[in-house]
């Protein structure tokens, strides 16, 4: 297999002495930093921590479901475990995953800026995230919470004796971290692009993070309001959601899903940006139909706000409103289809190599296609009645969120790891990890589609024995998946010390971030670049290289 990786001569290569990591020393220089790259690293460490907690909880869920009885833990404990799994994975891992780590690190560099528009707000965002995360952990340790990640009223307000208020406040706080990140990105992308960097020269990663930022800024406040109402209802009984006081529990559903459906796109859009970068780089080709891909991100962001009621088709909403929301749901599926085909055709007449990020990206394309298509099963209201609230839903959103977003996140981490750390990870074992993850993922979640078709409801600690075989398959797959996730953790940490020196541009990629040293300087650029080339202009890159050779020669 040929490869495009070109590393500098390892006998003479050194990590540049002055870079954002070595620029200042001491723990305080990290905790009080305003540097977007350092904040990205702080975020990366924290979300990885929460990912493994959430992952351990997922392991407990799968172990419990190995047998039809609720025998590993009591039903109450199981309810707490899946609630905490959902809350941690969604609010503390998936929502910040790509934007707060890769986005934070790369967006200023990709547009040729020295930092984000508001470095201190960026740092504040991380502290808010930590406060939210710590409070969530506290809620978990001091008795847990069993509302499910959806905080459904009146269950959460009147019927549970667990830490609903603490968890609600934790997510309220973490929400502001997300709002601040989004705000920072929007302002930065609008105001701080380098000379010559027009909107249509932006890498697609920037476009998709921009779209996600709009969703964060407009959607998250609604979640915050909803959580405040839940807390007030629980503590002083204001009654907005209580039918005996003239309130309406359906109102909660509307408010909650008004955020939580767009949140799905907050989670997936940045991942789509990663895939665009990776597929272009490893097929040495401009992304097929750049503007279609860019606008489809924006279209998803816009339509994403008008489909929330498809979570409520069976909740006694008017049949005619179902008609409208089902129709809009079908429309929002189209931009995703466009993206998939555009990525596939990016490969056409390319010059393709199969390094680790590309393998993850292929995994993303397969799994996201399944996740997206099964979403149509649920968007069509007649079939939604049978499939909703079953394992079909669970499988569907895990295909999108884990098969899609987590694959994209890992693709991105492997793609930009040499840029962030200056070192390469061992290629063979990372390719193996990508394949193991893909296989393990399918083994875990595909049986759940069948379980859902058969009608097994979600959030069941015990289930009728006829569903056992498929559950055993799923648990077995989860074991493989666990290995797939542990491997990168091990070799990436290993590579920090023992990895090969990566040099500035190991993948021969075109983005501005690859034209500077790895790891970058604190100020990113020695002088602000003037952008004349299009995004993904591989011919420009070749000319640059030739010029370097002639100048040095």
């Amino acid at each position: 297999m040929s490869s495009i990786v070109s590393l500098p001569d390892q006998t003479t290569a050194r990590i540049p002495k002055r870079n954002y990591i070595t620029n200042e020393n001491g723990i305080m220089s990290w905790l009080l930093t305003g540097d977007h790259k350092r904040i990205a690293i702080l975020y990366l460490i924290s979300i990885t921590f929460f990912f493994f907690i959430g992952g351990a909880l997922a392991g407990l869920i799968r172990l419990e479901l190995l047998t039809p009885q609720s025998d590993l833990m009591a039903a109450d404990t199981y309810n707490k475990v899946f609630s905490m799994h959902g809350i941690i994975m969604i609010f503390l891992f998936l929502v910040p995953s790509v934007p707060a780590t890769l986005g934070n690190f790369l967006i200023p560099i990709m547009i040729g800026a020295k930092d984000l528009a508001f470095p201190k707000i960026n740092l504040l965002s991380w502290y808010l995230y930590l406060a939210g995360g710590a409070l969530t952990l506290w809620a978990m340790i001091s008795g847990g919470v069993d509302t499910g990640w959806t905080f459904t009223v009146p269950l959460s307000t009147h019927y549970l004796n667990t830490n609903v208020v603490t968890t609600g406040l934790a997510i309220f706080i973490a929400g502001f971290a997300s709002i601040f990140t989004g705000l920072n990105f929007i302002v930065t992308i609008h105001r701080m692009r380098a000379p010559g960097m027009t909107w249509f020269k932006l890498p697609l990663f920037v476009w998709s993070n921009y779209a996600a930022s709009i969703l964060m800024v407009l959607g998250t406040p609604v979640l915050a309001i909803t959580l405040v109402l839940v807390v007030l209802e629980r503590t002083i009984g204001i009654g907005v959601f209580d039918p005996s006081k003239g309130g309406d529990p359906i109102l909660f559903q509307h408010l909650f899903w008004f955020y939580s459906h767009p949140a799905v796109y907050i989670m997936i859009l940045p991942g789509m940006g990663v895939i665009s970068e990776v597929i272009s780089t490893f097929s040495r080709k401009r992304v097929f139909g750049y503007s279609a891909v860019a606008f489809s991100s924006v279209a998803i962001a816009v339509f994403g706000f008008f489909v929330w009621e498809h979570h409520m088709f069976i909740m006694g909403v008017s049949n005619y409103s179902t008609l409208v929301f089902s129709f809009l749901t079908m429309l929002v599926a189209v931009p995703s289809a466009i993206k998939i085909f555009n990525w596939a055709f990016t490969l056409y007449k390319g010059s393709i190599t199969f390094e680790t990020p590309m393998l993850y990206a292929f995994g993303f394309m397969g799994l996201f296609t399944i996740g997206g298509l099964t979403g149509v099963f649920l968007g069509s209201s007649g079939t939604d009645i049978h499939l909703t609230e079953t394992y079909f839903i669970v499988a569907h959103f895990h295909f999108v969120m884990v098969g899609g977003m987590l694959m994209a996140f890992l693709a991105g981490i492997h793609f930009w790891w040499p840029k962030m750390t200056g070192r390469m990870y061992p290629e063979k074992i990372s390719q193996l990890a990508a394949v193991v993850t893909f296989i393990g993922f399918n083994f875990t979640f595909f049986p759940q589609f069948l379980l859902g078709m058969l009608g097994m409801p979600r959030r069941y600690a015990a289930y009728p024995p006829e569903f056992q075989v498929l559950n055993v398959f799923s648990t077995a797959g989860a074991t493989i998946l666990g290995v797939g996730y542990l491997l990168p953790m091990i070799y990436l940490v290993w590579s920090l010390k023992y990895g090969k020196i990566a040099g500035a541009n190991p993948w021969q990629a075109t983005g501005l971030e690859w034209q500077i040293q790895s790891p970058p300087l604190t100020e990113n650029f020695v002088e602000i670049p003037v952008v004349t080339q299009e995004a993904y202009d591989y011919e420009w890159l070749d000319r640059q290289k030739e010029r370097e050779v002639t100048q040095v020669g």
């Binding site: 040929s2 495009i4 109450d76 309810n79 459904t152 009146p154 269950l155 549970l160 039918p243 529990p249 040495r284 080709k285 097929f288 139909g289 750049y290 279609a292 069976i314 909740m315 006694g316 049949n319 089902s326 079908m330 429309l331 189209v334 466009i338 085909f341 055709f345 490969l347 007449k349 390319g350 010059s351 393709i352 190599t353 199969f354 292929f362 394309m365 296609t369 399944i370 298509l373 149509v376 099963f377 968007g379 069509s380 209201s381 007649g382 079939t383 939604d384 009645i385 049978h386 909703t388 609230e389 079953t390 078709m453 058969l454 009608g455 409801p457 959030r459 069941y460 600690a461 075989v469």
Partner: protein, 352 residues
Amino acid sequence: MDHISPVIWQFLVKWLTNFAVIPPEASKVAPQVDALLLFMTLVSLVGLTLVILLVVTFSILYRRERNPVATQIEGSTLLEATWTIIPLGLFLVMFVWGSVLYFRIYTPPPNAMQMYVVGKQWMWKVEHPGGQHEINSLHVPVNKPVQLTLISQDVFHSFSLPAFRVKREAIPGRYTTVWFEATREGTYHLFCSQYCGTAHSAMIGQVVVMSEDDYKKWLASSTSGVSLAQNGERLFASLSCTACHNGTPTARGPNLAGVYGSTLTLTNGQKVTVDDEYLRQAILNPSARITQGYAPIMPTYQGQISEEGLFSLVEYIKNLNSNYRIQQTTTTTELAPAATAAAVGTKGMVKP
């Protein structure tokens, strides 16, 4: 196969022989839903195969060994239009087809048998009009449309019947309805599919589909002796509804005989059709909607009647065709003021 543990082997054989990807089709709508599911699955498989084929073919044809230099292509409006319009068209077909089914599943036919379901942590209570009560089971006759009116007395629950492909949320504070027509005798799963707290996964039961004769036998053997409407009549008297809603010319409350299904004009000029939900709200929150010509003097019964009691009252008012019996009880009260309300209630129940 001696290297495979016999336990696992038997387990697999048993599973493979019973393998199913869909639950039994036991209702009239089930095959229709399955047809759409099959269509969607086929479209998805074709779509997925296409994506995989494209990726694999291009990966083979244009791998670096074979094609060292990429050819830059800007895009193609024609191709992009193709993969915008074709998926859109397919999705719209699914939308229309799905919506037709949705309307079918949630629009009960007028001749449907009526049953009432109360969800509570953590059981389903079914009330039949004939006075049969069930917990965590539902007995229905085959080939007859059955309409369920659902409510929850605490949190959200969801009444899920996978074999019938129907499901409906039971919501606190409002009625929802769903209907089905069972086509195959047998016993099928009944699940609560909306997370409702500790024993959510124990809130399961069964729906038993019986032949017409068996169903009649079951009805006769399980009746509590007091039909739902009779229970409603008892409540109607004991809650003193008769004091105002007695149909006399001087009555302070509207006449309720024949009110179900009629259209009322409210004091604000709004017109409403009287259905189960309207009656429920009129009992619990009477001042919200006052019939034209009446004063807002009715007290609220919030917190005084159970959901089962409300179903009884609704069923009673639904079947109320004349005020004869109400007037009888009120005259009895006037004639014998010493008689207790309870005695009046009993009297009203035994008289024809």
